[in-house]
């Protein structure tokens, strides 16, 4: 996984799946960009309509949680890793406080309802913490 100076870089793997690495400022105004990315990627992977919407909503909730946790003027990094039967999204910010995203019960409930699996992590990093969320979504919606 490389990090580019631009907003996004796509790394083509031998298997043909392109990993997309997006780095934006950890700012509320950037979340719409990330969920648009998520929807785009789901469309390319032939997700069904419900699954596209669920991934868009899940990425929004995850990134919003991290924006609120992150340090002002910090970076939010979001990696989309597609594979034939799923997309894995990893997002992380630098935070001052080691608060777990799941402390926000409403957002966490929505997020975990939308994705097939969600994990969170907080670890020391530099003089603060790194807060991250990983979620996995599959091409067919599980709703209804």
């Amino acid at each position: 996984v490389s990090e580019s100076n631009g907003d996004a870089s796509a790394l083509v793997h031998p298997g043909g799946d392109a990993e997309v690495d997006v780095r934006v400022s950890a700012d509320a105004g950037q979340v719409s960009l990330l969920r648009a990315f998520a929807a785009s990627i789901a469309i390319r992977l032939d997700f069904d309509v419900d699954a596209i919407e669920d991934l868009r909503m899940a990425v929004d909730e995850a990134c919003s949680l991290l924006v609120r946790a992150g340090r002002p003027h910090g970076a939010l990094r979001c990696t989309f890793q597609p594979s034939p039967d799923r997309v894995t999204v990893r997002a992380a910010v630098a935070a001052s406080s080691p608060t777990l995203p799941s402390a926000d019960a409403l957002s966490w409930h929505i997020l975990t309802s939308l994705a097939d699996s969600v994990t969170e992590n907080v670890e020391p990093a530099g003089d603060g913490h790194r807060v991250s969320i990983e979620l996995v979504s599959r091409p067919t919606g599980v709703r209804r």
């Binding site: 950037q30 719409s32 785009s40 789901a42 469309i43 309509v49 919407e53 909503m57 909730e61």
Partner: protein, 159 residues
């Protein structure tokens, strides 16, 4: 983003007098940039809110309600619930393309404020995505969202 609120004449405290200005014509906001204009249309600041009337105050919202824009909805709903002589709030979310937990929190708070003040709160028309989120959150009852949605309207393709 423009938030249009009813220009009801500021009546005296207590709001005892009957409605002086029953209905006001809807004022559609004019986007600062139209699609044809040069330059990119920014994705953030993409919510439009329009309020009219007093019995109840009807607030129509379109666009995307998220962490960046929910504050505008919060302001509009607070103003709608403070309109002198207003009986309540009717929220039309048919044009909402996207809402998340940040927007949901605003709706829950508005519902609570309305209850507290003895005003009504109705989530009158909701798009499929709004319904989906409200149902996941288990708030259909709290927000008065029940019954079938506007069916036969396929979800707009996401670009």
């Amino acid at each position: 983003v423009t938030v249009v609120t009813p220009a009801v004449a500021a009546s005296g405290p207590g709001g005892a007098e009957p409605l002086v200005e029953p209905l006001r014509e809807s004022c559609r906001m004019t986007p600062l940039r139209r699609p044809g204009d040069a330059g990119p249309v920014r994705e953030d600041q993409s919510v439009q809110i329009n309020s009219e009337g007093t019995d109840p105050v009807v607030v129509s919202v379109s666009g995307e309600i998220d962490l960046a824009t929910s504050g505008q909805l919060e302001t509009a709903l607070a103003e709608a619930l403070a309109v002198p002589g207003g009986t309540g709030l009717r929220l039309d979310c048919a044009g909402v393309d996207f809402i998340d937990s940040a927007g949901l929190r605003v709706l829950i708070a508005a519902r609570g404020k309305a209850d507290q003040d003895g005003r009504t709160f109705t989530l009158a028309v909701a798009s499929d995505q709004v319904r989906r989120l409200v149902e996941i959150a288990g708030l259909s009852g709290v927000l008065g969202l029940s019954g079938p949605g506007p069916d036969a309207q396929p979800t707009a393709p996401v670009e």
